[in-house]
């Protein structure tokens, strides 16, 4: 839990959130999570009793809208908030300090995840490669012969690759990164298939369906091909 909310400051921050706008409890929780980038995630068991207590003290009121309690700050609540403006400024400062802590935590966290993932996958890769001993030796010999036989070939290809790379590299670093038409077409096709799959999953695919699909796809392919000419 974040140290930000020691000393009854959660109460102050709740008042501030409700002063911005009337909100229901769930919204308050979500806002706290968002402002603290998910690092401080208060549970409903923390927030709802707090709101209830604020209401008992007459600092907030609630009305039920669509079956949900919407809390609104009262004049007394506003008074308390105004009296504690300095404290609120401190709190905001601490929140910005905590942003730095959060950045550090995020970094360490991701690093850890990434490191253990890399270790895990490296180990898995080793296991996959090992296979039966004999096979791997045989494979290695084959690979070696293969490699020698085609050494010249791949040297040629490396040359091509270098040119290709130079091209990619010179096109690269263009910044904004617009998706080219080709990629968009790929996306359209993928989405199309996903949609059809979903429809097909809900129904029985008969011979007739397949025949119709075949025709429709042939038509579509022809039309697309025509526009490409």
């Amino acid at each position: 839990m974040s140290p930000v909310f020691g000393h009854g400051r959660l109460r102050l921050y709740l008042l501030k959130l409700l002063e911005e706008s009337p909100r229901h409890g769930y919204e308050v929780i979500r806002l706290l999570q968002d402002r603290f980038l998910g690092v401080y995630s208060p549970s409903p068991g923390t927030i709802y009793p707090r709101l209830a207590r604020l209401e008992e003290e007459g600092l907030v009121t609630h009305e039920v809208v669509d079956g949900k309690k919407v809390f609104t700050i009262s004049d007394r609540g506003r008074d308390e908030l105004n009296e504690r403006l300095d404290e609120l400024a401190d709190l905001e400062q601490e929140i910005s300090d905590s942003v730095r802590d959060i950045a550090r935590e995020v970094k360490e966290d991701v690093r850890d995840t990434v490191k253990s993932l890399r270790e895990e996958l490296t180990q898995m890769a080793r296991d996959v490669r090992q296979g039966p001993e004999q096979d791997s030796r045989k494979a290695w010999r084959e690979q070696k012969t293969e490699w020698q036989r085609h050494k010249r070939e791949w040297q040629r290809q490396t040359g091509e690759w270098k040119d290709e790379w130079k091209r990619i590299w010179s096109d690269g670093f263009t910044g904004e990164g617009s998706r080219d038409g080709d990629a968009q077409l790929g996306q359209m096709l993928a989405e199309f298939v996903e949609e059809v799959r979903r429809d097909a999953a809900a129904a029985r695919v008969s011979e007739e369906t397949l025949a119709t699909a075949q025709d429709a796809l042939y038509d579509a392919a022809r039309r697309i091909r025509d526009t490409l000419r």
């Binding site: 806002l31 968002d34 402002r35 980038l37 929140i95 910005s96 942003v99 730095r100 959060i102 950045a103 995020v106 970094k107 966290d109 991701v110 690093r111 995840t113 990434v114 993932l117 890399r118 996958l121 490296t122 898995m124 890769a125 996959v128 490669r129 690979q143 293969e146 490699w147 036989r149 085609h150 070939e153 791949w154 040629r156 290809q157 490396t158 690759w161 790379w165 990619i168 590299w169 690269g172 670093f173 910044g175 904004e176 990164g177 998706r179 990629a183 790929g186 996306q187 993928a190 989405e191 298939v193 996903e194 799959r197």
Partner: protein
């Protein structure tokens, strides 16, 4: 338009930021998505000062006077120019980050995120939408990535933990690629590497078409449905896993490619 010159540790708050550009040389940079008011906090700074510009259209730019996007890669000027800064802006804000040797943490953005680095390490957490990461030798480490990622590097490594790419495009010379991917039906993964090894893990029940090709690298897969074939100058490993649909393509010259299978869901 408003402008500030930052010469000492300082904190600025802005009313509205719709686009962010930040370029620094050395030090540490954090750019986080937050619902709160957009802020810039500089906690350490050398000379020369940082220049902050807030345009009327909501574009916030933080950089040195003489550091342009073009100049970023050729940055060989003497001096330390180390700065430590943290920015929080709304999550739907497009973000452009450029660093020379500084490390950068970018978290929580959902629109378009572009990161360029020479040697600085980049950490991306929970970033979705359209993402571009270009580095020379800096590593890129990402967690919880969703959407489109285009990665280019010379020797910088890429690691993707818990990635759900719609499109993932990787081009590297010698950077190692390690990725643990959920592949949605529309997922489209393309990897080109000269000598940087590629290790990928796909879910147990993935449905994808696979085409992996290498001149001299070793190709291994934990999916028995894929076929190996050897042609002059190239080996391929390909086929369809499950019903297919998502697409995975990898080309290497001498790099090994290993395709791993995740545990049962």
């Amino acid at each position: 338009m408003r402008q500030w010159t930052i010469e000492k540790p300082e904190r600025l708050t802005f009313d509205s930021v719709r686009k962010l550009n930040v370029r620094i040389v050395a030090g540490k940079l954090a750019v986080l998505a937050s619902d709160g008011p957009p802020t810039l906090e500089v906690t350490e700074i050398d000379t020369p000062p940082l220049l902050v510009t807030h345009d009327d259209d909501g574009t916030l730019t933080v950089t040195y006077k003489d550091l342009t996007w073009d100049g970023l890669l050729g940055w060989l000027r003497p001096g330390r120019r180390s700065a430590v800064l943290a920015l929080t802006v709304p999550k739907d804000c497009p973000v452009n980050v450029g660093v020379v040797s500084a490390s950068a943490v970018v978290a929580g953005f959902e629109d378009r995120t572009s990161v360029r680095s020479v040697s600085g390490e980049i950490v991306l957490d929970g970033v979705s939408g359209e993402i571009n990461a270009d580095t020379v030798s800096g590593a890129v480490e990402s967690r919880g990535l969703v959407g489109d990622l285009s990665f280019k590097s010379v020797s910088g490594d890429l690691t993707v933990a818990q990635g759900t790419p719609r499109r993932l495009s990787v081009t590297t010379i010698s950077g190692r690629i390690t990725a643990d991917l959920e592949l949605p039906p529309t997922g489209h993964v393309t990897m080109n590497s000269v000598s940087g090894d590629i290790v990928l893990r796909l879910p147990h029940a993935v449905e994808t078409d696979v085409k992996i090709r290498s001149n001299s690298g070793r190709l291994d897969a934990a999916f028995p449905e894929l076929d190996h074939s050897v042609q002059p100058g190239a080996k391929t490993l390909g086929g369809r896993i499950g019903g297919g649909m998502a697409s995975l393509t990898a080309n290497t010259v001498s790099a090994d490619v290993t395709l791993l299978k995740g545990a049962h869901a």
